[in-house]
Structures are given as C-alpha cells and as structure tokens.
Symmetry: C2
Subunit: 362 residues, 2 copies
C-alpha cells in the first residue's frame, strides 16, 4: 500500500492506494468518529462491493442508499434520495457518509455530506479509474443543472480516500478509457516525463496490468494533491486541472449528460486544446499527432460530435464556470508538460479548432 497526503492544514487527509484495501477495517476506523455510517453507492457497484465494505464496518450502524447509475442522475432530485435515507434512518451530526462508486457517486455523496445538517464527515472510496485519479481527490463536490455541469456544489474535503486497485478488475473497457484521459491530462499539464511514461506503456495500461495501473494512479494523485494543496478553492493554479474540460463540458452538455462519458469528452476536449496549441505555435505537429495517436490507443473518441458546430461550442462555453465578466477563459498548453490559464484568446485559431470536426488533431 502506498500513502500520499493532500496537504490542507487542519483539513489534510491521506490517500491510500493498494490491492485489497476495501476489506481492511483498520483503514476505516480511524476516520469514523460516530456510530453511524451511510454507504452511498449505485445499482452497478452495490452487487460488486457493498458486501465487502459492510464486512469491514460491522462495528457500526451501517445503512445504505443505492442510486441509479449514470451522469444523467447527478442532480438535486437524486441528491434528495441521500437526504431521505439519512433522515428516515435518523442519522445525526456525527454520522459518516461513504462514497462507494465512480465520480458521480463521489460528487453527490460529497455534496450531500457538505450539506447534511450543514456538514458531516465523509470517506471517498472510488471504484473507477477516473474517480481514483481525479474526482475523489481535492474536494470538488456537486451536481449538474439542466443549464450547466457542476453548477451547484461545494468545496468539501473527505476524511480519507481509499483506492482499492482491485476494483479496476470489474471496470468496463469504456470506463478504463475514460479514466485514462485524465491520466494523460496530468502528464500533459504538469509532467512531461510522466506523459512519456504513459505513452510508452499505453498498451499495457489498457490491458489492465495491475502494476502499471497502480503507478499511473499514484503519479496522477500526487500531481493532483500537489496542485490542490497550493490552491484549494481554485483562485489560481488549480484551474489547470480543467485542461480540456471547457471543450469537454460543451460536448457533454450538448449531447445530453450521460451520452458521452465525462472522460471521453475530456479526451476530445484535450485534443481540441492541443489543436489550438498547434495552431498558435505552442506545440509541434508531431506532438499533436502523438497525442491523437495515444488517445486512439486509449480507446477515446478523437472527433467532436458531427452535429456540433462552432456556434454550439461557443454558446455552451460562454456559460462555463470559468467564464469571467463575459470573457471565455481557457486552459492551454505552453508545451507538453506545462499548461496555463488565459482569457487572451486567438479568435481565428479558436474558430478553426471548433470547426475542425473530423480533421481535429491532423
């Protein structure tokens, strides 16, 4: 087992990464202060891992709420199912919520913990690659609104993140691809050496080789923990973690949440950001091509939806959270391994990228 720390003063917390962690009571108990635990999971994950978690928590009053599975359920109505469960089982202020599942479960459970009785403890137990390397770390919680993704939420940190790499054995290929998009992101924005390592090992990673995946998770979490430790509430550098996300959110919103997986949209969004980077002279054609090939090897889409025109992108991007005073802000590449945030955008190059369609990345 490897342990990293997210350094946030008195809200610091550990990330444990390893095989077989779910069933180890000793990893849970230091982070549960009351007698009550509410496991929040979904209909896909519950049959796979709920029993194992319950076994580790026999010392507590353990209740559960099983949500429908999918990004389209990440809304206030589904959030209310968690509050219903907590109140009908009279959970009090010392309860601990456990997010057992992917990013949707983690974001909703974390937001429920932030709001229930104005804040109770919670533990992240991410079971998808995407949530293990991204959404379970850093305290961004929330739900979607019909007019925008993650528009309603809170910064709220878990007590601990338990990443059991065994859960990846049951992960569908499409979900593995979606998670790999975020792994590739960390290399692109902050660590050229890691980017090269992922490129060299992409085949083994996609075959699900456990040692390679554990390394990818650890380096990704270390990068995220470092950035979050510098800027918890995204007043500055943390925004680079949104690389590819402004384009990606536009795709997700336009297609309807749940049609493209978040990681798939981010994958194509990163290629769009890199395409813009090539058009503005930040990266070479060979580097752009290398990213496109790696995304393809990772099983990710490399073409924006055929029915999405430039105007569709622009209108969606204007209501993105990163917009300030009406100006679109983008996270862009300075080079492979370094990103920056700017509102100073080359409109010509952006339009070319947004209209590139099937020519994206060529």
């Amino acid at each position: 087992m490897k342990t990293l720390t997210v350094d946030l003063g008195d809200r610091s917390y550990p990330i444990h990464i390893g095989s077989g962690l779910l069933g180890q009571s000793a990893l849970w108990t230091p982070h549960i202060r009351g007698r009550q635990v509410m496991i929040v999971t979904n209909e896909t994950v519950a049959p796979l891992y709920l029993a194992k978690v319950r076994e580790a928590l026999t010392a507590y009053q353990v209740d559960e709420v099983i949500l429908p599975d999918g990004e389209q359920y990440k809304n206030l109505d589904t959030l209310n199912l968690i509050f219903d469960a907590l109140l009908s089982r009279t959970h009090n202020r010392t309860t601990t919520l456990v997010a057992l599942g992917g990013g949707v479960v983690g974001d909703m459970c974390g937001f429920a913990a932030a709001c229930y009785q104005r804040g109770v403890d919670f533990i992240q137990v991410p079971t998808t690659l995407l949530s293990q390397v991204d959404s379970s770390v850093g305290g961004k919680t929330g739900v979607n609104h019909a007019l925008g993704k993650n528009m309603i939420g809170a910064f709220y940190q878990p007590n601990v993140v338990l990443i059991d790499t065994d859960t990846l054995q049951t992960l569908p290929d499409r979900e593995l691809s979606a998670g790999m998009a975020e792994v590739i992101k960390y290399g692109l924005i902050a660590d050229a050496g890691f980017y090269q390592w992922v490129s060299d090992n992409i085949s083994g990673l996609m075959r699900g080789e456990a040692d390679l995946l554990a390394t990818a998770i650890e380096r990704s979490c270390a990068c995220k923990a470092d950035v979050v430790g510098q800027d918890e509430t995204e007043t500055g550098i943390r925004a680079i973690l949104n690389f590819g996300h402004t384009f990606g959110h536009a795709i997700e919103a336009h297609q309807g949440y749940g049609v493209w997986l978040h990681g798939e949209a981010v994958g194509t969004g990163m290629l769009m950001a890199a395409d813009y980077g090539y058009r503005t002279g930040k990266i070479t054609r060979a580097e752009l091509n290398g990213l496109r090939v790696m995304l393809e090897q990772a099983g990710l889409p490399i073409v924006a939806p055929a029915d999405m025109g430039c105007e569709d992108f622009l209108s969606r991007m204007r209501i993105d959270k990163k917009v300030m005073d009406g100006r679109i802000r983008l996270v862009l590449l300075e080079k492979i391994g370094e990103a920056f945030v700017t509102t100073d955008i080359d409109t010509n190059a952006l339009n070319q990228t947004l209209c590139a369609g099937a020519q994206l990345g060529y």
Copy 2:
C-alpha cells in the same frame, strides 16, 4: 447608523443598522466585486422594496428572482428557482446575490450563494424583525426537508448585513411578535439586564416605537455576533442560541411548516424550556410567570398545539439536529440571563412539561 462587526478573521463582516439604508449606494458598492447582482426576494417584499434597492444598484447588471412567500416553500425545489435565474442570466463566479426579505429568503439566498458555482458573494438585507435580530447574522443557511427543519444547508457568511429599520413600518403585527420572541431569547440566555429592559419596554416595542426597536435590534445583534464570533460552526457555545428551538421545531414540523411562524413556535418553545427550568429548580415560579406574561404581551402563543401529545414531541425531538448518538440535547436555563446545553435530562420533569398543554408556564 450604528455598525457592529461579526469577528470571524478573514471572513469578518459589518452589520449596519439604521433608518433609510436601502437606498444608500455607498453602503452597497464596497461589498460588490463583480458587475452582476441577483436580487432574491419574495412576492410580498418585492412590491415594497425592490424598486428602492434597484435604484441604489444602477451601476450593475441587476436581475431578480421573486419567490413565493412562506416557510412551506423553503425547500430544494424553490432553491432551484434561484439557480435557474442565475444560469439563464449567465451569472458568473463574481456575481453577488442579495437576500431581500425575511428569514426564509435569507436562508435560501445564502444557501444558493454557498452552492452556486461552489460559492459566490452575498449580502443580507433582512426586512423582518426576526431576520434582523437572528437569521441574517451568523451564516446559517439552508432549506427544510419533509422530515426535518433546516436539515440541508451550509455555514456561509455574507459580505455585509444591511438592516434598514424603516422596513419594520410595513411589517404585519404577527411578524413583529414572531421577531420579538428572538429578542426576548437573547435576554433570557445571555443578558439579564437586557431581559429586564425588554420587559420594561414591551408595550412600546409592540407599538412599533422606532427608537426602542433600533435599540432592541442592536443589542440582539451584538449578542448574536459575540456568540458566533466565539463558535462559528456550533461545536460548543453557539448551541445556546437554539434555546426554545428544539421544542419549537417539533411544533413547526408537527403542524406543517408555515402554519405556526418560526418565532411563534420559538416563543412557546422557550416557555416550555422555562417550564422545565422551573420544575428542576433553576428558576422561580415568579420568573416563569413573568416570562409567560411577557410572551403574551408580545402577542405570542403560550400554549402548545392541542393535538400534540408528549409522544409527538419526543418523536420529533429525536430527529432534531442537536441529537447526538440518540440522546436528546436541550438548551436549558441555569437562571434568567444564562443558558447551558445538556444531554443530562430529568425525564420526569420533561414529560410533565411536554404534557402540560394549556397549563404550560403556570
């Protein structure tokens, strides 16, 4: 104009109290950092004060959302109307929300500000006595759930509280009474001298004499600011502000939100807590009688609902937020002017109080 400060480190903020504050642009502008303002108000307050606030804010893009009026609308569905308005008018992270109205508007607007894009600025402009002396100060925000009051929310502080005492001129008598319950509370729990002052001046206060009301608001806010400054998130002493509220919440929930006003329920709840205090030897029969008479002079109910039995109270009280590990916690009087929190409860005396019905306070 009088100005108090809520002392919370880098989240400290002023409370301005005086006549004619709504229209003074100079009081608003230091607390608005972007170009957008969203006024959240309700259908009762909007015709009275919305135009005046708009006049003070002509330098900004001002939008508004007018909610239905009443505690029964303090829920996630109504909250979503605020998010709808913010997103459809593309308000960004630098927007400022303005809560123009009573406690329900303030609690919902504050919670919306806490959650919108994971947190934007907001300003409290309380227009009822109750919200001026209580809910606008201290950062408790949230909504009700069918199974419990204020069960979903956040601690989130405003940038400034603007208390324009002129708004009390349009306040219905019943609302003035409800606010007076909280004024009486501050004396009871923390300031015997102020309690005596309220007792001596209750007739003038209830006639709406402006100078008396301004003094009552200022001393109440000073008491609340002092307690909140010591314990923002209610891990200790702040709980004394809930004096009368555990009983009161039970009444509100049992009757259905909006039937009894919050302040009315708190008034009767305080009499129940004092009744228990008399039965356990903390206060004298004369003191208990004095409180009952003052509540009556303030136009507040002094008898619990006829259809509420002991068991109705107990079952509601068991899901109160102040319950810990299944034990009911109560705020009780040590004497007039001093309260304490305890789980060490004399079950006999509590049952007598809960069953006292029309004999409460005699």
